[in-house]
C-alpha cells in the first residue's frame, strides 16, 4: 500500500486545506478528460483512482468515520457503450475501450463508404490517434467536426489534441486572475483619466 501523503505530494504535517488543494491540483492534471483519446488513457484512469483513493483514505483518517464518497469514476470524454442507433459503432467503441485497436480498425475499414458518417470519422480518428498517427487522426476528427459541428464529444477530442501536459510548467498560463505591474499601471492611468474628467488629475506623470 503506497503512502497516501506521498501520492498527493504533501508532508504528514499538512493541514486539511493543504491536502484538498494538492488533491484538486492533481485531479485537474490527471483528469481522464485530458487523456481521453490517448493510448495510455487506462493508465491515467489508474493514476486518478490512486489519487482519489489516497485522498479518501486521508480524509477518512482525519474525519474519523465520515468518509467522503468518491468512486474514482468520472466522465472520460469517450463513451464506451453509447447507443447511437448503430450497433457496429457501439461494438467499435467497446473494442476501443478494451484496447483492441487493431480489431476496431478492421471493423471501421470494412464499413461501406455510404455508412461513413461523422461518428465513423471520429472513431477512425480515435483509432489512428492511439496508433500515434497524429496527422491522419487530426484530419479524421476535423472531418467529424465539420460533418457534425454541434457535437461536443468530437469538439472536445479536437481540443485535447491541441493541449500538452497540464503538469508542464511551460504550458501553464501565467497570470490566472493575478495582477502584474503592467496591469497596475494601466489601472492607475485609467483611474487618473476618470478623475481628470471629474476635475481631479492628481497623478503627476
Amino acid at each position: 500500500m503506497t503512502d497516501p501523503y506521498k501520492v498527493l505530494g504533501v508532508p504528514h504535517s499538512a493541514t486539511d486545506d493543504e491536502i484538498k488543494k494538492a488533491y484538486r491540483k492533481l485531479a485537474k492534471q490527471y483528469h481522464p478528460d485530458n487523456y481521453a483519446n490517448n493510448p495510455l488513457a487506462d493508465l491515467a484512469l489508474d493514476k486518478m483512482k490512486e489519487i482519489n483513493q489516497a485522498y479518501d483514505t486521508l480524509m477518512k483518517q482525519r474525519t474519523e468515520g465520515t468518509s467522503s464518497r468518491r468512486n474514482g469514476r468520472s466522465s472520460s470524454g469517450f463513451h464506451s457503450g453509447r447507443t447511437g442507433g448503430n450497433d457496429t459503432f457501439s461494438r467499435i467503441r467497446e473494442l476501443i475501450t478494451n484496447r483492441r485497436i487493431g480489431e476496431a480498425e478492421v471493423l471501421l475499414q470494412r464499413m461501406e463508404t455510404s455508412e461513413r458518417n461523422a461518428e465513423w470519422h471520429f472513431l477512425m480518428g480515435h483509432v489512428l490517434y492511439q496508433k500515434g498517427w497524429l496527422q491522419d487522426a487530426r484530419s479524421e476528427i476535423e472531418t467529424a467536426c465539420r460533418l457534425d459541428p454541434y457535437n461536443a464529444e468530437y469538439r472536445a477530442a479536437l481540443d485535447r489534441m491541441n493541449n500538452g501536459s497540464s503538469y508542464s510548467p511551460y504550458t501553464q498560463t501565467g497570470d490566472a486572475g493575478g495582477c502584474n505591474s503592467c496591469q497596475l499601471c494601466s489601472g492607475l492611468l485609467c483611474a487618473d483619466c476618470c478623475c481628470g474628467c471629474l476635475g481631479g488629475n492628481r497623478l503627476c506623470c
Binding site: 492534471q29 489519487i51 498517427w133 510548467p169
Partner: protein
C-alpha cells in the same frame, strides 16, 4: 539521428542545465570507454535526450562526479547511469552503421567510394556492441521496411505510415527492457520522439531532396516542394501534435511513491517537448523561408 530533440538552455535553471550537461558528458564518456573513441565525435542531442528519458522513467540510481574531459582540458560534472547508457550507446552504434549503409546507397561518385571505404570502420564499432542482437535485428528490419516504402515514389502517401517505421525504432529503444507501466510510458514517448524527428528531418531536407530527386515523404505526399511548403501550417501542426502527445504521456510518469526521484529531470523533459520542439521547428522553418522565392520554378 539529427540533434533536433534538445532543451532550450536559456529556459533551464542552472542546476537543470548542469544535470543535462552531466548526462551528455557521461554518455560521451561511456561510449568512448565501452564502444569506441570515435563515437564521441558523432554523439548528438537526440541520444542524450533518449538516455535522459530512460533515466527519468526508470528512476535509475546515478552517481555524479567531477571528471576531467580530455577534449575540453578541464573538469566537468559527469553523470554515470550504467543501464541507460549501455543501451543508448548500443543503439547509437547500430544506427550509426545502418545510416552509413543508407548513405552509400544514396550518394554518387567520389563520396560513395569514400563512404564505402569507411564502412568497415563503422562495422567494427557495431561489432563491439555485445548482447543486443535483438535490437540489431529489430532496427535492421524496420529500416528495411522503411527502405521498401521509400523506393516506390508515389506509393504510400500517408506521412504517418512512413513515419511509423522510424518511430517504431525509437519506441523500441526507449522502452527496451522496462516493465509494464514504465514501458508503456517510455514507448509512447519514444514513438513521438521518432515521429517528430522523421517529419522534421523530411522538412529540413526538402530542398536538397528535390534537387537530387531523392525520396522525401513530404514531396511524396503533397506532390511538389511548392505544394508541400504551401501546407507548412499543416506540417507544423502535426509536428507540434507529436510534442504535445509526448508531454501529455510523460505527465503520467510524475505521480507515484518515489521520494528519491530527481524532479529536475521532469523540468528538462518538459522543456524539451514544450520549448525545444518548437525551437527546432522554428529553426527549420526559418532556414526554409529563404527558399520560398525560387521553389516555384
Amino acid at each position: 539521428m539529427f540533434g533536433y530533440i534538445r532543451p532550450v538552455q536559456s529556459e533551464l535553471l542552472v542546476r537543470e542545465y548542469e544535470l543535462y550537461r552531466a548526462v551528455y558528458c557521461g554518455l560521451c564518456r561511456y561510449g568512448g570507454k565501452h564502444i569506441s573513441h570515435f563515437t564521441r565525435f558523432f554523439l548528438n542531442y537526440d541520444f542524450v535526450s533518449l538516455a535522459l528519458l530512460r533515466i527519468a522513467v526508470t528512476n535509475e540510481t546515478v552517481t555524479i562526479s567531477k571528471e576531467r574531459c580530455p577534449y575540453r582540458f578541464r573538469k566537468r560534472s559527469t553523470m554515470l547511469a550504467e543501464d541507460s547508457y549501455r543501451l543508448t550507446c548500443a543503439a547509437f552504434a547500430i544506427l550509426l552503421y545502418y545510416k552509413t549503409v543508407d548513405d552509400i546507397n544514396d550518394s554518387r561518385g567520389f563520396k560513395r567510394i569514400f563512404k564505402k571505404m569507411v564502412l568497415p570502420f563503422f562495422s567494427h564499432i557495431k561489432n563491439r556492441v555485445k548482447g543486443y542482437d535483438d535490437l540489431d535485428k529489430f532496427i535492421q528490419a524496420r529500416l528495411l521496411q522503411l527502405g521498401t516504402i521509400e523506393k516506390e515514389i508515389g506509393g504510400v502517401t500517408s506521412l504517418d505510415k512512413v513515419a511509423h517505421c522510424f518511430a517504431g525504432i525509437t519506441e523500441y529503444i526507449a522502452c527496451y527492457g522496462m516493465s509494464e507501466e514504465k514501458a508503456q510510458i517510455a514507448a509512447q514517448c519514444g514513438y513521438h520522439i521518432g515521429r517528430y524527428i522523421y517529419i522534421l528531418d523530411a522538412l529540413d531536407d526538402i530542398i536538397e531532396d528535390n534537387e537530387k530527386s531523392t525520396y522525401n515523404p513530404l514531396i511524396n505526399k503533397y506532390g511538389s516542394v511548392a505544394e508541400a511548403l504551401a501546407h507548412t501550417e499543416e506540417i507544423k501542426t502535426t509536428i507540434t501534435d507529436s510534442m504535445n502527445a509526448f508531454s501529455s504521456v510523460y505527465g503520467l510518469n510524475l505521480i507515484g511513491d518515489n521520494p528519491d526521484r530527481i524532479k529536475d529531470y521532469d523540468n528538462i523533459i518538459f522543456n524539451i517537448c514544450d520549448l525545444g520542439g518548437k525551437a527546432a521547428l522554428n529553426r527549420v522553418l526559418f532556414s526554409l523561408a529563404g527558399y520560398k522565392g525560387d521553389i516555384r520554378r
